[in-house]
């Protein structure tokens, strides 16, 4: 029984920790499937978290916070698009730039506007924060063995953004693999010249993909500062954007795999937090630093081609130049 409740607790925090990864990773999925590499997930998420925390604190509405997070994240996505689609700049360089601009400006603006050492004011739970939703019958089934705790602890009791994140997975699959837009989006990432020959604008398609990435990064940021935590803390993404990127590669650019990869990386994080300093028989004490590094190590191993091969979209990273 004790083991069971521990497992439920770890899985519950797995879900919470994987949500920002999931949003950001799906954001990268749209962008990279259209042939635009996105190193700037981290920066967009961070800027979104700051804008979300700041707007929710000033206006007092979680939804306004979310809107602000999405808006600022789309702005950075458009900068990325302007540099890498319109001006055919290096997509990696542009993404790196966005990460730094976001990292610096959230601290400077946060300090200038709120004077709390880079934090935004703590959000009260009276509507200026996404609070936990209790699903129907969560209390009545609590005492049912096995199913009760799973339903009332694990499935119920998350904020709306958590459910939204997991709904975005089938939605993304549907968009990419069952709509005309999705077909074209994937085509433009593999062979933009063919799409261009068919009379479809490569530029506009890629811009739409990049904007979608902006929207989802905004959600990821808002989740961090308005749902999971009560306000923005400086550098609160702490590399999550890069773990999301790792998850995207680990998932070989497929929506359902992305969810599984994000859950795996979230699980590693949850285990590292829950079991820090616990000895495992025959191994000894696993250092928490090793658990933290594990997503990155796994991604390198995957990239090396030892667990299947990660083949990125063919036209990824290359600006499209129309033939004249």
């Amino acid at each position: 029984m004790d083991y069971f409740s521990t497992i439920i607790l770890v899985l519950d925090s797995t879900v919470r920790l994987s949500v920002p990864l999931l949003f950001a990773s799906l954001a990268g999925l749209y962008s990279e499937r259209s042939g635009v590499f996105d190193i700037g997930l981290e920066g967009k998420m961070l800027a979104g978290a700051f804008a979300g925390g700041a707007a929710a604190a000033v206006v007092g509405s979680a939804w306004i916070g979310l809107a602000a997070a999405v808006a600022i994240s789309i702005f950075f996505a458009l900068v990325h698009g302007f540099a890498s689609i319109t001006h055919r700049g290096n997509q990696i360089v542009s993404g790196v730039a966005i990460n730094f601009i976001a990292a610096g400006s959230t601290i400077i603006l946060g300090q200038a506007w709120f004077r709390q050492g880079g934090r935004t004011p703590a959000l009260p739970s009276d509507g200026s924060r996404f609070t936990e939703i209790k699903l129907p019958f969560a209390d009545t089934v609590r005492d049912v063995p096995v199913f009760g705790p799973i339903y009332s602890e694990l499935i119920s009791g998350h904020s709306i953004l958590v459910y939204l994140a997991f709904l975005t997975v089938p939605f993304t699959w549907w968009v990419l693999f069952r709509t005309r837009f999705g077909l074209r989006l994937r085509a433009v990432g593999e062979n933009p010249a063919a799409v261009d020959t068919a009379g479809i604008s490569v530029t506009w398609l890629r811009y739409r993909a990049v904007i979608l990435a902006g929207v989802l990064c905004g959600f990821a940021g808002a989740y961090l500062s308005v749902a999971q935590n009560a306000g923005f803390v400086k550098d609160m993404t702490a590399g999550k954007g890069f773990i999301a990127l790792a998850a995207l590669i680990f998932a070989k650019w497929r929506p359902v795999n992305v969810m599984l990869a994000c859950l795996l990386f979230g699980f590693l994080d949850a285990v590292a937090i829950r079991f820090s300093g616990i000895r495992i028989p025959a191994v000894g004490e696993v250092p928490p630093q090793f658990m933290q590094a594990l997503p990155y190590i796994l991604t390198v191993v995957l990239l090396a081609g030892f667990i299947g091969k990660a083949i990125p979209p063919k036209a990824g990273g290359q600006p499209y130049v129309k033939e004249r």
Binding site: V79, V96, I101, I297, V300, L303, G305
Partner: protein
Amino acid sequence: MAKPYAKLPGWVDYGLIPLVNLAVAFAVSGLVVLLVGENPLRAAVLMVEGAFSTGDGIGYTLFYATNFIFTGLCVAVAFHCGLFNIGGEGQAYVGGLGVAIGALTFGAALPWWINLPIATLLAAAMGALWALIPAYLQAKRGSHIVITTIMFNFIAASLMVWLLVGMLKPAGLMAPETRRFADGAVLPRLDWLIEMFGFTIRSAPFNITFLLALASAYGVWVLIWRTRLGYEIRTMGFSPTAAKYAGINQTRIIVITMMISGALAGMMALNPVMGAQNRLQLDFVTGAGFVGIAVALMGRSHPAGIIPAAILFGMLYQGGAEIAFEMPAISRDMIVIIQGLVILFAGALEHMFRPAISAFFGRIATSEMKAAPATTGETH
């Protein structure tokens, strides 16, 4: 429009366009200053004063510039081979381990002028080693080096935390750092260099690593433009296909280039670890590896451009710290924004102003042709 851009005179291509890009980057930074309610011009004046008006200001400026010369060279060498090494941060961090191993082992026994080469070799070796795996995976397995070097930054951070809270920390010490190095592993200051110009220096840890950085810059210039290996590196960067047909072993070139790049990043660790703090501390790199990207882009991957770019960023770093006393809304984090904007405008948006400038020079050329019809120059 067969050719997208008209041919421009050299001074426009290598002087004017980078300058315009930089000016825009700084203008946008000024807007950020305006946004937090301060006067950007006054901020700029304070920054230059903070960096250059006192001996200590100059000392700190050059101390930071030393870091940025190394990391800028690291990024530039990889750029010449067509590789983007974002891993300078991690390579420098692990390089610090090499410095610490050397300094802790021989610090008490040997004088500084023997310890310096030992520590340099160890730091370079550790940095090169940390770049080796991403390089090998890029060359042999086609794994994208940008992604692997980012991953290696995080792995390096975890590794160093593990070592510094574990085996490197002496018993009885709370802070995650090594013990203080013995006197033989403390690098001499270059105070006399600044005192030559009539300034006095008290606390700035401006040390002999600066000269090593300048020597490395010269070494990189010789390597890239005056050796066979450099020629092969540039060929590879210019066109991998051409390199292949010229019989250049691509794996070899990628691995060697990245190891040189990593070694340069690793050597950066000498400056803060042996030159200033005299012990290995957590996070001593403080983003210098990333500043290197901006420095390399700004200096157009040429040592002659990288040194002034590094000094400019050193100035921003030191001036940014001074500015915070006068303008509490502006802290050193301002430099991160400037760095991002420089990377954006001098890197990703490098060609944004080119069509306009090239149209402008095209018009001048056309009007000159009209004035002197005898010249048979190409207008476009």
